[in-house]
Symmetry: C2
Subunit: 243 residues, 2 copies
DNA sequence: TTGATAAGTGTACATTTTACATTATCCAAA
DNA sequence: TTTGGATAATGTAAAATGTACACTTATCAA
């Protein structure tokens, strides 16, 4: 026995109890990743009210009636960090019946990468509670947010191998050692220095600066920038980044 | 000026106009792929009513208040094909403000792979209109369904290289030439027969049957089965399928 | 018996990956 | 000015993998 005697309610919206089908809230949640040169971190809110008071939560909000999901996520990010042009990718939608104790809310999860130095908490909003948390030591998380986080991390680890998005987490100028350490931390592996460097440079995606590190007590490393325009051009010719 | 004076409506649901935030419908749409030995096909509905009467549409339905998204999708698939255990993967959620002319409906898109021989249209439902359509010659599609289809095909092409899900589209027993032709069709490429066969067999994912093709006018090829249990075991040891 | 057809195998060559050794450059301290 | 510590940066040989293509095998049908 189906709850749905109408053969095709989504098309015509003329089901006798159609209003019951339009009682959903839709939220967006955004897992924001950063990297400080040592750890991969995630930006989390400590909840100040029930339900889940004191638990860590992924920043998010209900989608407004007049905005689409990406717009809502960008709004959340702007309110949270002051930033507008950050890497954003839709992750997965979580629509379990009981995932929110106070109503039927489906959440469209995103993840975002930003340069941790650009982070600029907005003191006038709930973002004051936002904390960069190393991904190894998360506390208990509200709702199904642990599940969302796990999915985001897994997706990030996968994506970072096949698209040159690691650079979104680094300062504009970085050394090859910085880049290698980021990948090693993110993917929980070790790379041979010589081979890593050959592989990356062979892709021809980096712009060598005429600068080096300062204030190090050893031979200073050359600084590089990611050449986004070059990546665009190569992509059109069938190039695809790997590892 | 924000529509949202409450700092955190999704958490507490105590916004003064909260009911406006709970006026969404959520649907699921499922792009169903099949393969008949020649073409990759997709199962589409021809719409009998406005809006978009006469256009092709991806099968879907509104999510009921008491079911989650996967359950809704499995229900749609069951109604459509009679099948219950098919490969199903969440694709992406489309939540544009104006994507549905009759109301604010966000759709969670899935894609599904099934053995075309198992397809068994249910004559008592709207599935009677369902048609296997070769993916090269789609007609005009309703709503934003073309966009959804394109995303599904792209995802399928990507996924089929890194997970052994091509077998979901083949009969339980198949020849290596069948498998090669499937991949060539799906990915729009050509493989060297000898190398393809070496690569696949080296993965040790196929069970060689003591059977061969019948009724062919040349040397009959050996039949194989996909060994799902073996794949499980290998996966746990870090193996990962590629191409 | 033979030819057509596709199944299935072998191999040499090119390319990429891997492991590890070596050289280069800067700073700081002697 | 020299030397040692540290990491940057490069070189190379062996191993592994990918590629191209020729060759052999099995079945059917004429």
């Amino acid at each position: 026995m189906s709850l749905n005697p109408d053969p095709n309610p989504v098309d015509t919206l003329d089901h006798p109890h159609i209003q019951e089908y339009f009682a959903f809230g839709i939220s967006v949640d955004c897992v924001v990743f950063g990297y400080d040169g040592i750890d991969v971190k995630v930006l989390l809110i400590e909840r100040g009210t029930d339900p889940f008071k004191g638990y860590q939560a992924i920043p998010g909000d209900l989608v407004h009636p007049t905005e689409d999901a990406v717009t809502a996520t960008e709004r959340v990010l702007k309110d949270l960090t002051g930033l507008t042009n950050v890497y954003l990718e839709q992750l997965q939608t979580f629509a379990g019946v009981d995932r929110h104790p106070l109503g039927r809310v489906a959440t469209i999860a995103y993840f975002s990468l930003l340069k941790i130095g650009d982070y600029n908490p907005k003191p006038s909003s709930w973002a004051t509670d936002a904390q960069w948390t190393p991904i190894q030591d998360l506390g208990e998380m509200a709702f199904d947010h642990k599940e969302i986080f796990d999915a985001a991390l897994e997706r990030l680890q996968m994506r970072v191998r096949q698209k040159p998005i690691g650079f979104e987490l680094l300062p504009a100028e970085f050394t090859l050692a910085d880049l290698q350490h980021l990948y090693e931390t993110l993917l929980n592996t070790q790379f041979d220095k010589a081979n890593f460097r050959k592989k990356i440079l062979a892709m021809d995606l980096l712009l060598a600066m005429d600068k080096t590190q300062k204030a190090v007590r050893h031979r200073p490393a050359r600084l590089y920038q990611f050449d986004a325009a070059r990546y665009e051009a190569l992509s059109k010719r069938g190039f695809h980044f790997e590892l």
